[in-house]
């Protein structure tokens, strides 16, 4: 180090709005992905930035065919809290896996429609906020009654999810976050008092897929203070079991092969990939080798 060097400290490995745009540009330019990725703008933020929005699904010859209509929906979002860059790394793992050339990715694209908002709060990310949007508000407490003027992303996401729900059955909603106090990766879900296991199956599957996922850190309470979070708001609207927040530690793991080690971006990306593998297990999706004839394959 030289005496005139400027040193930056970060809570977590940075992932900027520019990084997102660059990653999406690479995906868009790939001819193979043009068959199944649609990149668009959900809305403009308070500062006029684009809120990126992806739809990933295989193109059917007839969009009104039974096969097309039978596809279930998945909505995944990240980075509502701009300081939680670990969420963006998990999201990168989700997207990279979904657009990849693997049998699993192909099976997922053929059986699901994925709607993805990779960065819910680009203004906050660009301006270096930790928690809030440019309205000075925690957007993850503004889901119940979002203002179209002050919280345009929340407003447009809710509208989109409602339309999505009218169009097809939604199998999974997951909002990706970073956690500043706990180790490992875990989930917050909701609870059906008559069948508590229903909302716990998905995180339980995750705990079997990666050893730094902690089922026992996961919680499924629905407190009044959380009524305006995405997790609770969308659960109340959609009335499905699998509506989660997935939390990744800013630190690392306290168990498994990564015990006492700091998470690296690769580990967050693995968690994003495993979210999709858990979906394969949960829906009993049959995965055929690449190049083999595919059939409707959700059990």
């Amino acid at each position: 180090m030289e005496s005139n060097d400027v040193v930056y400290f970060a809570h977590c490995f940075p992932y900027t709005y520019t990084d997102l745009c660059e990653d999406l540009k690479v995906i868009e330019r790939d001819r193979a992905t043009q068959n199944f990725v649609n990149r668009s703008t959900l809305c403009r933020t308070l500062a006029g930035n684009r809120c990126e929005y992806l739809t990933i699904t295989s193109k059917e010859k007839d969009p009104n065919s039974e096969k097309s209509k039978a596809k279930k929906g998945v909505f995944i979002s990240a980075r509502v809290h701009p300081g939680e860059s670990n969420a963006s790394w998990m999201m990168k793992g989700v997207i990279d896996f979904l657009v990849g050339n693997t049998a699993e990715a192909q099976a997922l694209r053929e059986n699901f429609v994925f709607k993805i908002v990779p960065m819910l709060n680009p203004d906050g990310v660009i301006n270096g906020n930790y928690r809030c949007s440019l309205a000075g508000q925690d957007l993850n407490r503004r889901w119940k009654v979002p203002s179209k003027t002050l919280h345009p992303v929340n407003w447009h996401v809710k509208k989109m999810v409602r339309e999505f729900n009218r169009e097809r059955e939604i199998a999974l909603v997951c909002d990706l976050h970073g956690h500043s106090r706990r180790k490992n990766i875990f989930m917050y879900g909701n609870n059906f008092s008559d069948k508590p296991h229903a909302t716990r199956v998905f995180p339980y599957i995750m705990s079997k897929l990666i050893d730094f996922f902690s089922f026992d850190y996961s919680r499924f309470s629905v407190h009044r203070s959380k009524e305006s979070t995405a997790r609770v708001t969308l659960w109340r609207e959609l009335k499905i079991a699998n509506v989660f927040t997935m939390e990744a530690s800013f630190c690392g793991a306290n168990k498994g092969q990564l015990e006492n080690k700091h998470f690296m971006p690769e580990h967050f990306m693995i968690a994003g990939r495993k979210l999709l593998e858990a979906l394969i297990v949960y829906t009993k999706l049959e995965v055929h080798p690449l190049g083999s004839p595919t059939q409707p394959c959700i059990g």
């Binding site: 809290h81 939680e84 699993e104 930790y130 928690r131 809030c132 309205a135 000075g136 508000q137 925690d138 993850n140 407490r141 003027t149 002050l150 976050h177 970073g178 956690h179 500043s180 106090r181 706990r182 917050y188 508590p196 296991h197 716990r200 199956v201 339980y204 599957i205 079997k208 897929l209 990666i210 050893d211 730094f212 089922f215 026992d216 850190y217 996961s218 919680r219 499924f220 309470s221 407190h223 203070s225 959380k226 979070t229 997790r231 927040t245 939390e247 498994g256 092969q257 990564l258 690769e266 580990h267 990306m269 693995i270 990939r273 593998e277 858990a278 394969i280 297990v281 949960y282 009993k284």
Partner: protein, 94 residues
């Protein structure tokens, strides 16, 4: 890009898992439900889904920065609502 160290942290491959077996485990083993009961880690500081941090602007401060003017249509609706909400005056009996 270097290969992701997936194998380093993997317990089981997804194709080894059966959802029916995992559901049965959750139903039969009450401890699995018990261990996930209770509050989230909502201790003092902001930690994502937990309590919001202290840098949220109050509504009063927000209104100074971003005043939202009511639309003309909204004004008429508000006046109608206000009129409807007025208590009915009782005539004094004489």
């Amino acid at each position: 890009m270097s290969k992701l160290p997936v194998e380093q942290a993997q317990i089981a491959s997804y194709d080894e898992l059966k959802i029916q077996d995992l559901e049965r485990e959750l139903v039969q083993n009450k401890e699995l439900i018990e261990m996930t009961k209770g509050d989230e880690d909502g201790e003092d500081s902001a930690c994502s889904d937990s309590e919001p941090s202290e840098d949220n602007l109050s509504e009063g401060e927000m209104a100074k920065l971003i005043p939202i003017k009511p639309t003309p249509g909204q004004n008429r609706k508000d006046k109608k609502k206000a009129a409807a909400d007025q208590p009915v005056r009782k005539n004094s009996a004489q």
